[in-house]
């Protein structure tokens, strides 16, 4: 895979658009950026990271031998614009503000084009005010957003970031991680060796296997359920057969009864005339029996009522005497009431006379007509006396004697209505008796037509026929109930009976599960054997590289990695080297990184920022000689003036790179136009030069980077 183009727009010191063309027919792998500090080497390095992963971190630091990952760098930040990624002038002056990176690469996957942009239509003070967009085109197919991120990850997985982007300032931290075998480096190494693909594969297979386990378990449950269903179905089938047998028996019974009934009907038809008499006689016999019972009851009633007959006759004689005495008694009582009333009146009149005064008690005047009043009261009293005397003189009978006579007579008095009841019960008895006599006459007449025995036979025949009818109805009802039951059991049986299972499908599920299990075992075995062999290969390859890069190869046997990928340099005496120089350790780290890339077959460019930071001249030259070979992946270095210069590389005969660029500020170019690189420039005012060829003005104090491709052939 090769990076072919990189286009930066308003990022870091790069104002406007800058195109870097890496495309070349030349097979050489080396590319280089040369610049003093601040001219944008790391900006290019970070721009590619940002395009691919959407984020850039500050450099990680080594604290107490622990690597502390750097924080995220903002695209814009009004509180820290020295460290923001967007070009300061673009952020300050442009509307809309925008920063973008276009990254184009080609490889086995085809052509990958990644364009990431951050923009804002107004003034973005922080990243939250920006709009971020990502467009990925892979072989002409466009992807946006998350789908675009996934397409990038297929070619540049973020897990392998350390193996594409190597930061010289962080190599020391990498070295510490490799020497101490920290988890971070273990994960990175596993990633590049593609071990996570195996562990993920195992997880995926286990997840799929679980679905088949569930299916098989469900199948086993179904089988158990089917057995239960079969048991239930068998029971129901037994019940169904029993009902069917009962139906058959009932049908046979009905048939037998129907034959019997038809035989009775035939016999009854033969004695039809006699049967009329027999039926009538039976009816009369029954009526007589009932009437005799009624007659007995009515006679008992009549006898009961007749017990009062003596009193009724005697009272007919005594009643007039009783009435006369009662009338006299009533008269006596009335006279006593009248006497009492008269005596009360007389007493009142007497009191009036006694209390009367001829002079008023209040006014002491004589009362008018007093004498007349007294005289009238006296006359009234005399009349009352006369009446009292008259009443006392009449009727001499003793009231107590009169009362005793009446009581004695009342003992013979019958109850009210006794006579009417006696008459009614007597009449009813007579009418019933007459009816009985009539029925007996009728019975005698009927007996002349049908003998007692014949009537009995006919009656028995009729009774048998009726009983057969009843039995038929009962059996027909039973048959109907049984048919309902049959239908019910049949439905239950059909429902309860388990459906035929698809044995082929079950077999496939078992086969799939078995296949998956075998893959799981195979992958687990691969993880183990591949880890061991890959580590061995990495060790071998790293040792080879190390010995090539080392300035004293005879002193070393190589590099060793233990199972936790802890790295050590071994001397030619077969013992670990104690107190290795930092340069040696950096070379060890680079050798292991390169070996990992080789063993894993990773075909991707290496972007190496400040590569020779900790290396002496021999190691620097050795590194470039090794990595800038024709048969290797692209190797881009971002070198500052203290590491490499163009002249130095050319003079040392290291100029095997494909392309190189110098990054400069106007102050780095005395009297040179940064637009057309002409030296025909004249000073026009303070810090300003005008180009006589392109007529552009250059501010010599500007910190906008200009890019100049190195002409290697000059």
């Amino acid at each position: 895979m090769r990076l072919t183009y990189l286009v930066l727009s308003d990022i870091g010191p790069f104002r406007g658009r800058h195109i870097f063309d890496f495309s070349s027919k030349d097979a050489r792998s080396g590319y280089a950026f040369f610049a003093k500090n601040g001219r944008g080497k790391t900006t290019i390095y970070n721009a590619m990271k940002w395009a691919l992963f959407g984020k850039v971190r500050r450099k990680s630091k080594l604290v107490d031998e622990q690597v502390v990952e750097g924080s995220l760098r903002p695209v814009v930040d009004e509180d820290d614009y020295d460290h923001m990624m967007m070009n300061y002038d673009a952020w300050k002056d442009d509307v809309p503000q925008s920063m973008s990176v276009l990254f184009i690469a080609e490889g086995e996957f085809g052509k990958l084009q990644v364009e990431r942009t951050a923009s804002c239509n107004s003034m973005a003070r922080k990243d939250k005010h920006l709009q971020f967009s990502l467009t990925v085109s892979l072989n002409g197919t466009s992807y946006q957003g998350q789908a675009a991120e996934e397409e990038i990850a297929k070619v540049f997985p973020i897990e392998l970031e350390r193996f594409f982007f190597i930061d010289g300032e962080e190599v020391e931290a990498y070295t510490t991680m490799m020497k101490s075998s920290t988890q971070g480096i273990i994960d990175d190494i596993k990633s590049i060796l593609r071990l996570p693909s195996l562990t993920r594969g195992i997880e995926d297979l286990r997840a799929i296997k679980r679905t088949y386990d569930d299916a098989i378990e469900a199948g086993a449950k179904k089988q158990l359920l089917d057995t239960k269903k079969e048991d239930k179905a068998r029971t129901l089938n037994g019940q169904l057969n029993m009902v069917r047998k009962q139906i058959q028996e009932t049908e046979e019974e009905i048939q037998r009864l129907q034959q019997r009934q038809s035989s009775f009907q035939e016999q009854i038809k033969g004695v039809a005339e006699l049967k009329t008499y027999a039926d009538e006689k039976l009816k009369v016999d029954s009526q007589i029996e009932m009437l005799q019972n009624t007659l007995k009851t009515s006679l008992e009633t009549f006898i009961g009522d007749f017990s009062n007959a003596g009193n009724i006759l005697l009272w007919n004689k005594l009643e007039p005497t009783y009435n006369a005495l009662a009338e006299e008694n009533d008269g006596q009582q009335n006279k006593r009431f009248a006497l009492d009333r008269l005596k009360k009146d007389r007493k009142k009149v007497q009191e009036t006379i006694d209390e009367f005064r001829s002079v008023c008690d209040k006014c002491h005047q004589p009362v008018l007509k007093a004498e007349l009043f007294l005289k009238e009261r006296q006359v009234e009293k005399d009349e009352l006396d006369k009446e009292i005397k008259s009443l006392e003189g009449s009727g001499k009978t003793n009231p107590q004697q009169l009362r005793a006579k009446l009581t004695a007579l009342e003992t013979f008095q019958p109850n009210h209505g006794s006579y009417e009841r006696l008459k009614r019960s007597y009449d009813f008895y007579l009418s019933q008796n007459k009816l009985l006599l009539n029925l007996k006459e009728k019975q005698r007449n009927l007996s002349d037509h049908v003998s007692e025995d014949s009537a009995k036979d006919i009656n028995e025949l009729a009774q048998k026929s009726a009983r057969t009818d009843q039995a038929l109805i009962k059996n027909e009802n039973t048959l109907r109930d049984l048919r309902f039951k049959e239908d019910e059991f049949e439905t239950k049986y059909k429902t309860a009976r388990p459906k035929d299972s698809d044995s082929d499908a079950i077999d496939i599920v078992y086969d799939l599960r078995d296949t998956i299990q075998r893959f799981i075992v195979a992958i687990e075995g691969t993880v183990k054997s591949y880890s061991d062999k890959a580590t061995e290969e990495v060790q071998k390859e790293a040792s080879k590289v190390f010995l090539q890069l080392s300035n004293a190869p005879a002193a070393f046997s190589g590099i060793r990695l233990n199972k936790q990928f802890k790295a050590s340099i071994y001397g030619s005496n077969g013992r670990p080297v104690v107190g290795a120089s930092s340069g040696m350790e950096v070379i060890m780290t680079l050798s292991i990184i390169d070996a990992l890339r080789t063993v894993s077959g990773l075909d991707a460019p290496v972007f190496f920022d400040t590569p020779a930071r900790s290396l002496d001249k021999d190691h620097k030259n050795g590194m470039l000689n090794y990595f800038w070979r024709d048969d290797r992946s692209q190797f881009l270095i971002f070198a500052h003036s203290g590491e490499f210069t163009v002249d130095e590389i050319i003079n040392e005969d290291l100029a095997v790179f494909n392309k190189a660029w110098e990054l400069m500020w106007p102050e780095d170019l005395e009297m040179t136009c940064i637009h057309c690189w002409s030296k025909d420039v004249e000073h026009v005012s303070k810090h300003k030069n005008r180009c006589n060829e392109c007529e552009n003005i250059t501010n010599s104090h500007s910190r906008q980077t200009a890019v100049k491709e190195v002409n290697l052939h000059e």
Partner: protein, 61 residues
């Protein structure tokens, strides 16, 4: 990333020990390589793909 690398060789050896079909081994390995750096969110979708690979292989047997 070359399929004839060490990983493929080890995978093939281990799968053959399990008497797995060569064609299916290749398909499963291709699946593993294709999705080795997939996001966590796409795992279920990937599993469907793997399930289909296995089922199709067995049905064609």
């Amino acid at each position: 990333m070359a399929d004839d690398g060490l990983l493929w060789k080890e995978f093939l050896v281990n799968c053959k020990k399990q008497n797995l079909n060569k064609d299916l081994i290749e398909k499963v390995f291709a699946y593993l390589m294709k999705h080795q750096y997939s996001a966590q969110g796409s795992r279920q979708g990937n599993q469907v793909e793997l399930k289909r690979i296995l089922e199709e292989a067995l049905e064609s047997d």
